[in-house]
């Protein structure tokens, strides 16, 4: 694989960097998603349905 990628000057680094960057973004987004509490999610998901209600505090 690395030999194949190595045919293009500099591309081996580029391709690996691309996938590493993606993994970082995905893992951070996943942590972001997991750490948000269920109550907060429920409140946020109801925002379009509660626009005429008070913007109460959590």
């Amino acid at each position: 694989m690395s030999e194949l990628i190595g045919y293009v000057n500099g591309a081996d680094v580029l391709l690996i960097i691309s996938l590493v960057i993606f993994m970082i973004v995905f893992v951070v987004a996943a942590i972001y998603m997991i750490t948000i509490s269920k109550d907060t999610c429920d409140r946020l998901s109801h925002l379009p349905l509660t626009e005429n209600e008070n913007n109460g505090k959590e």
Binding site: A11, T35, R43, L44, L49
Partner: protein, 732 residues
Amino acid sequence: MQKEQFSYDNTIVRNFAIATMVWGIVGMLVGVIIATQLFEPAMNLNLRYVTFGRIRPLHTNAVIFAFVGNAIFTGVYYSLQRLLKARMFSDVLSKIHFWGWQLIIVSAALTLPMGFTSSKEYAELEWPIDIAITIIWVVFGWNMIGTIVKRRERHMYVAIWFYLATFLTVALLHVVNSFELPVTFMKSYSWYAGVQDALVQWWYGHNAVAFFLTTPYLGLMYYFMPKLAERPIYSYKLSILHFWSLIFIYIWAGPHHLLYSSLPDWAQTLGVAFSVMLIAPSWGGMLNGLLTLRGAWDKVRDDARLKFMVVGITAYGMATFEGPMLSLKNVNAIAHFTDWIVSHVHVGALGWNGFLTFGMLYYIIPKIYNTKLFSTKLVSTHFWIGTMGIIFYAVPMYISGFTQGVMWKQFTADGMLKYPNFLETTLQILPMHMLRAFGGLLYLTGVIIMVVNLAKTMRQGSLVRNEEAEAYALTKEENAPGATYWHRWIERRPTQFIIMAFIMVAIGGAVEFLPTFLIKSNIKTIESVTPYTPLELAGRDIYIREGCNNCHSQLVRPFRSETVRYGDYAKAGENVYDHPFLWGSKRTGPDLSRSGDETGVFRKGAEWHFKHMWDPRSTSPGSIMPRYMWLYEDNIDVAALPAKISAMRTLNVPYEEGKEDKVEAEVSEQAEAIWKQLQTSEKGIEQQMLAEKGIAVDQNKEIIALIAYLHKLGRDIHPKENSDNQTALNNK
């Protein structure tokens, strides 16, 4: 704490909604007209202003930026105010945005039929309009971000994330892709050339689909689906994951439009890999939309507005599954350049964008007019006619595309192309083109029904221009990050959010662009490739003006079926002086990149082109190409050429100093050579012109420049000495 009283601006929502309807009808009507031209070319009435090449961009611009654009603004202005519990930041900015956008659309509608085009797909508008788009887009963003800043709701709901990402990324795409050097008031050359131009263009083109046709509509879906279903979105967590993944991955996928081209292989592979990965976040959005209806599917049976939403979201799911499949090289080998892509695009446009827009308008108009829909039966009628329209459009185009792809590649047992004449493959699919036009007509009929229904709804109600509302103001403590979840640092603060989103969308483009632009080995030059002569440059600009690239590609892929039919496969080095590149994305007619290769199989003589452009059916019976009679009447604009040569030199095309002074003589010399060929081989042609339309053709006419350009294409790959004196002229 006292609640604050304020009002929502519904006038701006109404204005954008009306514009959506008006431009929707215009854009779709133009679509139906060009669809008919693809089986009956005389439908252009032999008028230059309505030929397919000129008004196909009008159709795409009208439906994308006028219909969909206005629909986005309708939905954003409606939902943003309510989600943030705040009136728009500035009514003046709202008005400037509305009227500025309509002015841009009118400018497009006037300039594109006149042939003022940059030729870059979905970015055809010339530089003054590009500047206007930038200004108006900034006004939109200013107004939106200003509203976010003065909001009364702490959290930015996920729909707003999509709106912000749309604003940011479209701005980035538009500015980078529109780098062009003005030559005259309505003429410019792309700053980039050849492969680099292609990479930038399809980075833009693909992400125009992503960030103009997808992300804002996902935002609208996240607002209007819960409203119509009267239940919250299925999973807010899923929306978080799919938002960040989607905006990050989408931007990398552009190169899948350039598979088997002379773009470096690593960039193509990167495009394919990220395209396949794109299924996950796309389907995350689709499933989140559809599963919102869990336990409430009975509502869909009774509410045609929900039917629109469900079919729209399903179309999104289909299109976003098909897209990655089309990016696989083996599928792309058959589908690219065919009607398959047209069908794929229209499933997304008619289904996802169209149907979501209709569902949204049927919700908004009665709300802001404080009334009920004039007729729910008509909504249902619209839904079924629209659905039939999509089916009649898409199915024939799939059949047509697959037929084309297979016929182009078919060989006989003796190893010869089974359909060596491209025209055979065109004639085979004409019935499908007729059915497609019928499908488009059905869809348009549905839209007209909607407009009548909504106009009656407006008439029976009364516009609530300023809708009263009340909410608590945000306190300082609530704005502080404090001991809350770390991610609120982003989701409560538009500045941080925009910076993060910018980083996400900028990475992909940077990784693809920088090596292609900076590492020389990615674009190998070819010594025999020379710049265009002044006459060829004039011909190239005519080619661009007439939109020939809308039907003819200039990219021979490295397949036996293509090299046998056209000639040598495309190389990066042969396009280094092409500002802009003209590879095209569709083969309604054959590829033209080898039409000047004197050792190749595809070259046609000057007399053939001369006869063909006057009446394509005289040389190619059954052809669906329009006649270009005005090329025989209008003189070549020689006076404009010195400025064009200078501009090209600024763009690093190696014209020698003082070339401008020789333009007239060089044009005359090369035109005379072509004219002489015509006189020798087709002595009667001049008389024929005279008899038919009273036209006296001579070597100064535009047709001569166009022939010169066509004979340049591919000639430098296999130069042949002493032919037409053109090679010698190039080296002058």
